[in-house]
Structures are given as structure tokens and as C-alpha cells.
């Protein structure tokens, strides 16, 4: 120790120099971010529309010189909340994960903006299907996606088939296609999410009231098990059995096919039906501009009135409690929900409007679904109502690649109960 003491003066000089360099670097960096107008950040990370929102933010900045808005697509949301520096305005997919922030009161109340937003009551109901914070309107829906079964109109015409409205009609269509040597459904089972959002969500959503099911499951809390009055084992078994029956009419190589393969195959007419959402339309049309396709909700019962469309709030707006510039963030929110801006967004991105007075979709194919949306015949998928800590997608993958339905659902019930215990919710 004594020896190193002798060298202290020199050492500190060098350290001083290093610290100075680091300090200068830090100062230089922090200087980049400073500006006279209050800076607010819009967090929006849906990749396809990042350039779109970037443009929106810059036109907002020119219209509101007193506010400087920046667009953030890359930060870690959980980290920013943990650091107590959340984004000022969020524009994200509304799912169970997002609802966790809402449930814990991290999002501020926006109920006074509701009249201006003029959200359709049926859409607003979707928000309340996930755990909310009492007495608050924590999120304002912005865009809704409707997903159902794509079908190749040419193949249907060629074999004299009509769009099925009941489950037995659907089976009939599949049988006819099979005897004609045509693959009825194209499955991409190697991507677990395509099964979860596709066949699993459609078959469950077409057969049971998903929102009511999850409400009862949550009310049960830690009491939920495979013996309780509602459970995954009890309520999902029948729809999934029917779905597995449909899976007999899929392409033989489904287990090794992924989402991108599915788009190519469906665009090339290799199968009559394909279970995907509107996000795939752009790609399919790019692959085959002459593609003649339509969309119908997967019928899972014998009553045509039961047909419903799977929707999700693709984008919803929220302002965190921890935001330092709530007023400015509200200005940006109001700017984004103006009908001419929101409608243009939905028209360009195959979304359905969420306002009571939003115009009908312009996309030819999505028009097939407009009727269902208008009469609120829609549901939020089962896969988005389950916390990510439970690997629901993989469970569905196991069911549709030959696993046992009973065993998988029993596992799911066990997971749900353990999760409820961990959360300590009632």
C-alpha cells in the first residue's frame, strides 16, 4: 500500500484527465437533447408504421411550435416505467401486457377527452375486458384490426362452393375440396403465434363468449382450477376438438412451414383457405396482384348468427401518470385523434375506425367484415387475454401438432391458477 501511495499525485492527474474526457463526452451528449420548448416523446413501436408516425410527429411540431415532440420506437417500455421516466404518450397494441400498467394505476385518467374521441360503445367495451383501474379511462382506442378466414374466391368458384355459415357447412366444404385434391387450409404451425391467433382464437371465439369466459375466470381468482365451474379444460375443450378436426384438412408439411411460407403458398393458390389477419393482405397482394380473395369469419356452431370476427385494438393511446408533460401530451393525443388523421391512418393500414362515426373500410376484402364490425359481432382473441408468462401459443402449437387437448388444457388451468396465486389478486 505504501508503494502505491507514492504514485498518487501522478495517478490522480491522469484520472482527472480521464474523468474530464468522460465528462466532456457526457456533456456533449446531453447537449444534444436540450431545447427550449418542452420535449414530449411519443412511444410507438409498430414497425410497419414507424415512418408514418414520424411524419405525423414532424407535422405536429410545425403546427405546434410551443411543443417539441419526438418519436420513440426503440426504448424498453418496462425499463422506462421502472426508471420513472415513461414516455409522455404511448400508442401501442392494447393487450393483456399493456393492461398490467393500467391495472396498477400507472396510466392517467383521460375520461374528459372521451367526448372528443367519440369512441363507439362496442369498441370502448373491449378496453374494459381487461383489468382496468377503477374510475379511470386509461386508454383511448385508436385503430382496430379485424381478422378472420381468408379464402381464395377462384378456388371456391371452381369447385362450386359457397362461403360456409355453419360448422357442418364448413366441414362439407373441406370434404369437397379434399376429394377434389385441394388443400383446404394452409397452416404454418412452425410459427406458434400463427396457430394461436388463427385457428385457436377463431375456433374458441366462434364458439364461446370469450370476454365473459375470462371475466368469470378472473372472478374465480385462485379458486380457478380444472374442477371449477369455468375452466380452460371445460370451456375450451369442445371448440378445440372441432378445430383439431379441421386441422385434418391442412397441408401435409404444416409443421415445418412458417408465416412467410404461408403467405407465398396462399398467394400462389396452393390452398383454399388461410387463417391470417389484415397485416398479411399487403404481402399476399404484392406476391400475386391478381389474387381474388375474400374474408369470412370461421363458423364454429350451427347457428349463422354466432359468427364473429376476431378483433384487437391494434393501437390505443395512453398517457402515463409519471409523465412530466401531461398537458402537452394531451395536445398531441388530440392531434392524433382528429378524424381526418385517424381515418387516414386506418385507411392506409387496413384498420377499422374506432369512432362511432368512422367511415367504412375502403379495402375490398375487408368490406366482407364490415357488417360484422357494425353489429359488434366481434371478440378479442383468447391468446391476447392470457399473460405472456403462460406460453399459450406453444400450448396451442402442441395441440395442433398432435398433442393431447385434455392434458394441455389441464396444464393451462394449472398455470392460470399458479399465476393468480402469484399475483395475489382475488
Amino acid at each position: 500500500m505504501g508503494r502505491s501511495g507514492a504514485s498518487l499525485p501522478l495517478m490522480s492527474r491522469r484520472n482527472l484527465f480521464q474523468a474530464g474526457a468522460l465528462g466532456a463526452f457526457a456533456f456533449g451528449l446531453s447537449a444534444c437533447g436540450s431545447s427550449s420548448a418542452p420535449t414530449i416523446s411519443l412511444y410507438q413501436s409498430k414497425p410497419e408504421v414507424i415512418p408514418y408516425f414520424r411524419d405525423l410527429v414532424s407535422s405536429f411540431n410545425t403546427e405546434h411550435p410551443a411543443i417539441h415532440a419526438i418519436h420513440d420506437a426503440t426504448s424498453s417500455l418496462s425499463a422506462s416505467f421502472a426508471r420513472a421516466t415513461p414516455p409522455d404518450l404511448g400508442c401501442l397494441n392494447y393487450n393483456f401486457e399493456m393492461a398490467r400498467f393500467q391495472e396498477r394505476g400507472e396510466l392517467s385518467d383521460l375520461s374528459d377527452l372521451l367526448p372528443e374521441a367519440n369512441i363507439a360503445p362496442s369498441v370502448l367495451e373491449l378496453v374494459d375486458q381487461y383489468p382496468t383501474y377503477p374510475g379511470r379511462t386509461s386508454v383511448i382506442p385508436y385503430s382496430m384490426m379485424g381478422a378472420a378466414t381468408f379464402y381464395n374466391k377462384d378456388i371456391f368458384d371452381q369447385h362450386g362452393l359457397d362461403v360456409p355459415t355453419t360448422y357442418s357447412e364448413l366441414l362439407g366444404v373441406c370434404e369437397k375440396l379434399k376429394s377434389a385434391g385441394v388443400t383446404a387450409f394452409y397452416f404454418t404451425s412452425a410459427d406458434a403465434w400463427t396457430l394461436a391467433q388463427g385457428i385457436a382464437d377463431y375456433s374458441i371465439g366462434g364458439a364461446i363468449d370469450v370476454a365473459d369466459f375470462f371475466k368469470r375466470m378472473r372472478d374465480l381468482g385462485t379458486e380457478a382450477s380444472n374442477d371449477s365451474e369455468v375452466s380452460f379444460s371445460k370451456n375450451l375443450k369442445k371448440p378445440l376438438e372441432k378445430a383439431v378436426k379441421l386441422a385434418e384438412y391442412t397441408n401435409a408439411d404444416a409443421t415445418s412451414r412458417k408465416y412467410a411460407d404461408g403467405n407465398v403458398a396462399f398467394a400462389n393458390g396452393e390452398a383454399a383457405m388461410y387463417l391470417q389477419g389484415p397485416w398479411a393482405i399487403t404481402e399476399i397482394m404484392a406476391l400475386n396482384p391478381k389474387m381474388n380473395m375474400g374474408i369470412f369469419p370461421l363458423p364454429m356452431t350451427e347457428n349463422p348468427e354466432d359468427r364473429k370476427v376476431r378483433v384487437n385494438l391494434d393501437l390505443a393511446l395512453w398517457i402515463p401518470e409519471g409523465s412530466q408533460h401531461k398537458d402537452e401530451a394531451r395536445e398531441l393525443l388530440k392531434y392524433l385523434i382528429q378524424p381526418e388523421i385517424a381515418d387516414k391512418y386506418n385507411a392506409t393500414n387496413n384498420g377499422f375506425g374506432v369512432r362511432a362515426d368512422s367511415p367504412a373500410v375502403s379495402d375490398e376484402r375487408l368490406k366482407d367484415l364490415q357488417g360484422f364490425i357494425d353489429k359488434a359481432a366481434f371478440y378479442q382473441g383468447t391468446s391476447t387475454a392470457i399473460p405472456k408468462t403462460i406460453p399459450f401459443e406453444n400450448y396451442m402449437q402442441s395441440i395442433f401438432t398432435g398433442g393431447s387437448i385434455e392434458e394441455t388444457l389441464a396444464t393451462l388451468d394449472g398455470d392460470w391458477q399458479r399465476n393468480a396465486r402469484r399475483q395475489g389478486t382475488n
Partner: protein, 298 residues
């Protein structure tokens, strides 16, 4: 893997030359087998790389066809252009470079000094303990500490690239000290003794004698520090609060989505990001190898 295709050292050559004839034939045929195996192994790296390059030069229309090995037709640099603007490449690149350069610099300096102190004072409890203390950090991966690091760095205003540099240096310290101490132990202490007799302080001894001798190992440490810092995703994504000061790997996350297949843009961007580490590797390859073997032999 590249370490295995090293040219044989003169020593091995000599051994071979002095061996009887039939052994030479045997060793050449086994060398052929080895080369063939290694060539096959290198395909596992080269093929994906080829796909990346081909994809990067395709148009979006061709990229979604899902034909990985098809040649781009026409060759297009649209992907690069779009990646350039989407990631705001010049600024993101600059931030990544700054973080990497400072991380490398401090990693080498701090770990070299710490290792010198530890290696030459091994008999003292304090230094032995600090060595164990630093080694213990090897068993703590960042994800375990992520939450507390995010909170702490936020409290002290280090939720920016400077914080990332600091954490990169700290997290690399244990491994780097391990490398350096092993290396310093192999240096003859007599050199320092003679310097001390000439009146050099430990500080002076370190800079004029030890540090130059450690250069090969410093190069190794620098390369490791550079690669891990340049490619790190988790830490910058958690620590850096200001999106305009984010690093390349984090910004590139926006290309990874289940719904879109803009492979040409993503791969173009990955190639742009990969370029610096490849260039650095080509120029410093000799250093890395010599550093590795020197550390290994002694």
C-alpha cells in the same frame, strides 16, 4: 472456429520435417480430412452470411418470395437506403462507436492496472480478496441485475451512453482481470526489480515495462470488449432513456416483427452494423490470435 484454421506454427512444421517419411504421408492425409471437416464447418457460417448478403441487395418484392438463395434480380440498394434513414444511421452509428471506443479504452486501462496490482500483491489479503470479489461478478449476468441497474442509473443521471460505458467496463472487469493477471504472472519479476533498483516508481514501472509487455493481451481484451460492447442489446436498451442516443443493435430491433418480412431492409441494416466489427477483426486478427495463444501457453 477461426482459431482452428490458424497456420501451423514453425515449431509444428519442424517436428513434421524431422519425422520419418510414412508419418508425413499419414499426417498430410489426416490434414486433408481435417481441412475438409473445417471447410464443411465453415459452411455453417458462410451460407447464412451469403443469404444475408443476397437478401440485402434484393427489392422488397423479391425478398418476400422467400427464396433465400436466389440471386437478386435486379441488384438494388433500396434496402440499404431505407435502413439508412429508418435507423438514422449516421447518428446511431456514432453513438455505438463512441460507446465501443470508450468501453475498449477503459476496459484495457482499468483492468490492466487492477490486474497489475492484484498479481504483484497476491500475498496480501486485501488484493487476494479483491481478486475473488471481481471474479465473483462473473457469475452475475446482467439480466439478474437489470431492474436495480435501471433504477440506480436513473437516480444518478446515468441513463445515457455514459452509463452504458461504465456498466460495460464494470461487467467486463472480472473476465479481463482474469486474463491479465494470468498474463502478468508469466512476466519475469526480475524486470521490475531492476527498474525499481534504478529508482522507478510502481507507476513508472507499470507504464514503461509492464504495459508494453502486456500489449498482446491488451489486444485480446480490447477485441473481446469491442465485440461485446458493439453487439450488446440488452444493456443499452434498458439503460439509455433518450431514444435519440440509442445504439445500433437496439434500433435494429424494429426490423424484428412477426407480421412483416422486410428481409432486404433488415439484412441491409445488419450488414451495415456488422461491417465495423468485421473490418476491425480483419486488421487485428494477428493480435487476437497471438494474444490468445500466449495466454494459453504460459
Amino acid at each position: 472456429m477461426t482459431a482452428q484454421v490458424l497456420p501451423e506454427t514453425p515449431l509444428q512444421e519442424e517436428v513434421k520435417n524431422s519425422a520419418p517419411r510414412r508419418r508425413i504421408r499419414k499426417s498430410t492425409s489426416s490434414a486433408w480430412i481435417k481441412t475438409l471437416l473445417l471447410a464443411l464447418c465453415s459452411l455453417t457460417v458462410l451460407l447464412p452470411f451469403l443469404v444475408a448478403v443476397l437478401m440485402a441487395f434484393k427489392t422488397t418484392d423479391q425478398a418476400i418470395l422467400n427464396q433465400a438463395f436466389a440471386l437478386p434480380k435486379p441488384w438494388s440498394i433500396e434496402g440499404f437506403k431505407e435502413a439508412w434513414t429508418l435507423t438514422n444511421f449516421p447518428r446511431t452509428f456514432a453513438v455505438s462507436v463512441l460507446i465501443t471506443v470508450f468501453t475498449v479504452l477503459f476496459s484495457v486501462l482499468v483492468s490492466a492496472m487492477a490486474s497489475y496490482a492484484i498479481a504483484r500483491n497476491w500475498k496480501r489479503k486485501f488484493f487476494r480478496f479483491s481478486s475473488y470479489y471481481l471474479m465473483a461478478a462473473m457469475f452475475l449476468p446482467f439480466p439478474v441485475l437489470a431492474l436495480s441497474q435501471v433504477k440506480l442509473s436513473g437516480y444518478v443521471g446515468l441513463d445515457n451512453p455514459v452509463g452504458v460505458i461504465l456498466l460495460h467496463v464494470m461487467f467486463g472487469l472480472s473476465f479481463n482481470v482474469l486474463l491479465f493477471t494470468a498474463f502478468i504472472r508469466s512476466l519475469p519479476e526480475e524486470l521490475e526489480e531492476s527498474a525499481r533498483m534504478d529508482g522507478a516508481s510502481p507507476w513508472r514501472t507499470f507504464w514503461t515495462i509492464i504495459f508494453p509487455l502486456m500489449l498482446p493481451m491488451s489486444a485480446t481484451v480490447a477485441i473481446f470488449a469491442m465485440l461485446s460492447s458493439w453487439n450488446d442489446f440488452m444493456m443499452p436498451s434498458m439503460i439509455i432513456a433518450d431514444p435519440s442516443l440509442q445504439t445500433l443493435p437496439v434500433v435494429q430491433k424494429m426490423f424484428q416483427t412477426q407480421f412483416s418480412n422486410n428481409y432486404n431492409v433488415s439484412f441491409a441494416s445488419y450488414l451495415l452494423a456488422m461491417a465495423p466489427s468485421i473490418v476491425a477483426y480483419i486488421f487485428t486478427q494477428k493480435w487476437v490470435m497471438s494474444g490468445l495463444t500466449q495466454g494459453a501457453v504460459k
